[in-house]
């Protein structure tokens, strides 16, 4: 197939542009002024545009493999540019742009002013890592992007100079490194058997020889899945997540919770279905193990969240439960299950970042973090609380919001697989979600605060409210028209199975 050479290289340009942006920002400006903001947003919007054009190109003309520097798959790095990687990169970039527009104002009171430009440099590197890990088709390259992600995601937590941040970030770093090293160990074991690092080549080789080397394959799969499980906060390995996500500055929490955890799920999906293949993992029964962990996580994450008083900590524990939903979809290993999982990746990304951003707006305006002090706050900050309510109702699964649609699809996937017990777990988890989200909404709107409840339109900055409104409207639109996301996702899934 003939393609124009330039547009073929857009994915690489996106990565290089983000890398350049992250170097340029701290160099050009001492202070965080208009120039720095232009560079940040310009970089992101430009890369978003290039990713969009790649996405449209792939939709029209089909996927292609891109060899960096034209080295072959034996020694070079390869990008797999298909509907899955481009649509998910587009999702990552869109959500990051919205969060970063919000952060321009919010970050000023979260971290020391001289470090703001460094912060954005780190955020751009983080986005580089996420896009890279999504598009790459090479296992060692995945490891390198993972480590970029590990360092930057810890650094955007520890940049806030608080005691708790240092400890949370250190623990996150250590566990993250454990995860990456287990992954690399697994990569070495796979390389030992196949002699390739390219995912598609390993898939061909491993399906020929796997019966000869069961130890290598089992060890590699175990180590790599455990490593990815630590990073994606699957239930018993989630210990780092609540501290890290709740102490971080608000924009970082939104990015970490909405996006960073998800890219490890993409990697796990690629590993299971593209590198190893459905035939082998079905033989050694891995998908059902994944669903067990997922189901326990769905319940336990919500149970832990009920006990929390700090709003951001509550949201962090809620993430653990929601990751369970996604892994349940992945573990079903059917077309419906995987598309429900991917749909929930997108909808949870939008809902959770909306929740974190509105919680951040409350902290920005009133300084309150404890949900017991939220009485009557819906009258002080009606817009923010309405947006929070949209996110929270989406999490519970009220019809008309995208959270409901992902539960709907997941329910169908579970029934198709013939395991209605999981449907009960999904419903139970939704009830548990309601137990901890509804009291916040009720106390915000229906109880008397310390002052008289006078409805005033709050004056949070426009740059903070507009991104939140955009995210919320996306939640509502995909709630009514889930086909927008589902069409793309269901076209991306057949490349896995």
């Amino acid at each position: 197939m003939k393609r124009p050479l330039n547009s073929m290289q857009f994915p690489l340009y996106v990565l290089l542009l983000l890398l350049m942006g992250s170097v340029i920002i701290p160099l050009t400006t001492e202070k965080f002024n208009m120039k720095a903001k232009t560079v940040i947003l310009g970089t992101l919007v430009l890369s978003w545009g290039m990713m969009l054009s790649t996405f449209i190109n792939v939709l029209r003309e089909g996927p292609y493999l891109y060899n960096i520097g034209n080295w072959g798959p034996k020694i070079g790095i390869q990008f797999n540019i298909d509907i899955f990687s481009t649509s998910m990169s587009l999702f990552i970039l869109s959500l990051s742009i919205l969060v970063i527009i919000y952060s321009l104002k919010d970050i000023e009171h979260e971290i020391y002013f001289k470090q703001i430009s460094v912060y954005y440099s780190l955020v751009l590197l983080l986005i580089l890592g996420m896009v890279g890990i999504t598009v790459t088709n090479d296992l060692f390259n995945t490891y390198v992007f993972m480590e970029i992600l590990a360092i930057t995601s810890c650094a955007i937590i520890s940049i806030k100079r608080k005691k708790e941040n240092y400890m949370a970030s250190f623990r996150y770093l250590i566990l993250n490194t454990l995860g990456s090293l287990s992954f690399l160990f697994g990569v070495a074991l796979l390389y030992m058997v196949t002699g390739y690092l390219n995912m598609s080549e390993i898939y061909i080789r491993i399906n020929q020889v796997w019966e000869l080397y069961p130890t290598n394959l089992l060890l590699a799969l175990g180590l790599m899945l455990t490593g990815l499980g630590i990073k994606a906060a699957v239930f018993p390995l989630h210990v780092w997540l609540p501290d890290a996500h709740s102490t971080a500055p608000t924009p970082s929490s939104a990015l970490l919770s909405g996006l960073v955890v998800k890219v490890y799920i993409f990697t796990a999906m690629k590993l299971l279905f593209r590198v190893i293949g459905l035939e082998i993992i079905d033989t050694i029964n891995i998908p059902s193990f994944i669903t067990y962990f997922a189901v326990v996580g769905m319940i336990m994450g919500s149970v832990f969240a009920i006990g929390q008083r700090d709003i951001k900590r509550l949201l962090a524990y809620s993430s653990v439960a929601q990751i369970g939903y996604i892994f349940l979809g992945v573990g079903l290993a059917t077309e419906l299950g995987l598309s429900a999982g991917l749909f929930h990746v997108v909808s949870h990304g939008f809902m959770k970042s909306l929740l974190f951003l509105s919680a951040g707006a409350i902290i920005y305006k009133t300084g309150k973090r404890d949900i017991r002090t939220f009485k009557g706050i819906g009258y002080q900050m009606p817009l923010t609380m309405i947006l929070f309510t949209v996110g929270a109702l989406g999490m519970i699964g009220i019809p008309g919001l995208n959270g409901f649609m992902s539960k709907w699809y997941l329910g169908f996937a579970v029934l198709e697989k013939g395991q209605p017990i999981y449907l009960i777990v999904i419903l139970l988890s939704s009830f548990l979600n309601a137990i901890y989200y509804l009291p916040i909404i009720i106390s915000a709107f229906l109880t008397e605060g310390e002052e008289r409840n006078i409805m005033v339109l709050e004056d949070i900055p426009k740059t903070m409210s507009i991104p939140m409104v955009l995210i919320a409207s996306f939640c509502i639109i995909t709630g009514f028209f889930p086909q927008i996301v589902m069409d793309v996702v269901s076209r991306a899934i057949p490349t896995f199975l």
Partner: protein, 128 residues
């Protein structure tokens, strides 16, 4: 005797596995933060050892073309794992540097680098 021979043949892999487990044990159980970082480094070394051993070819030359005058031996050690380990070492150094700088900050904040003491300090603060 066969078992001994089998162990000797695979000594690199066994060594890598043992080092990995030692490192993991240190990271998970040791309360001292710097020793945790050392544990991470031991684990990294283990993975690098495994990776380099994978690329080793018995009797192979260094993969530099035209190094030896006579072109009799066509055997070369696989250069790819070595190149990857160079990347891995760079990553390991940056992780170590970052975690050590975090430890400095933790020491400034808490006055200790033992996890159990830090936890005590934090729980005392929570009680107050």
């Amino acid at each position: 005797m066969e078992i001994v021979q089998a162990i000797i043949d695979r000594i690199n892999y066994i060594g890598a596995a043992i080092l990995f487990v030692i490192g993991l044990y240190t990271v998970l159980t040791h309360p001292n933060l710097i020793k945790k970082v050392i544990g991470i480094n031991i684990m990294e070394t283990a993975v690098f050892l495994l990776m380099v051993s994978v690329g080793y070819v018995a009797g192979g030359n260094a993969p530099i073309l035209g190094l030896t005058k006579e072109q009799t031996s066509e055997l070369y050690v696989n250069p790819l794992p070595t190149a990857m380990i160079l990347t891995g070492i760079v990553v390991a150094v940056s992780i170590t540097a970052y975690s050590l700088s975090l430890i400095v900050k933790i020491y400034e904040a808490y006055g200790t680098i033992e996890v159990d003491e830090i936890m005590e300090l934090r729980s005392e603060k929570a009680v107050e």
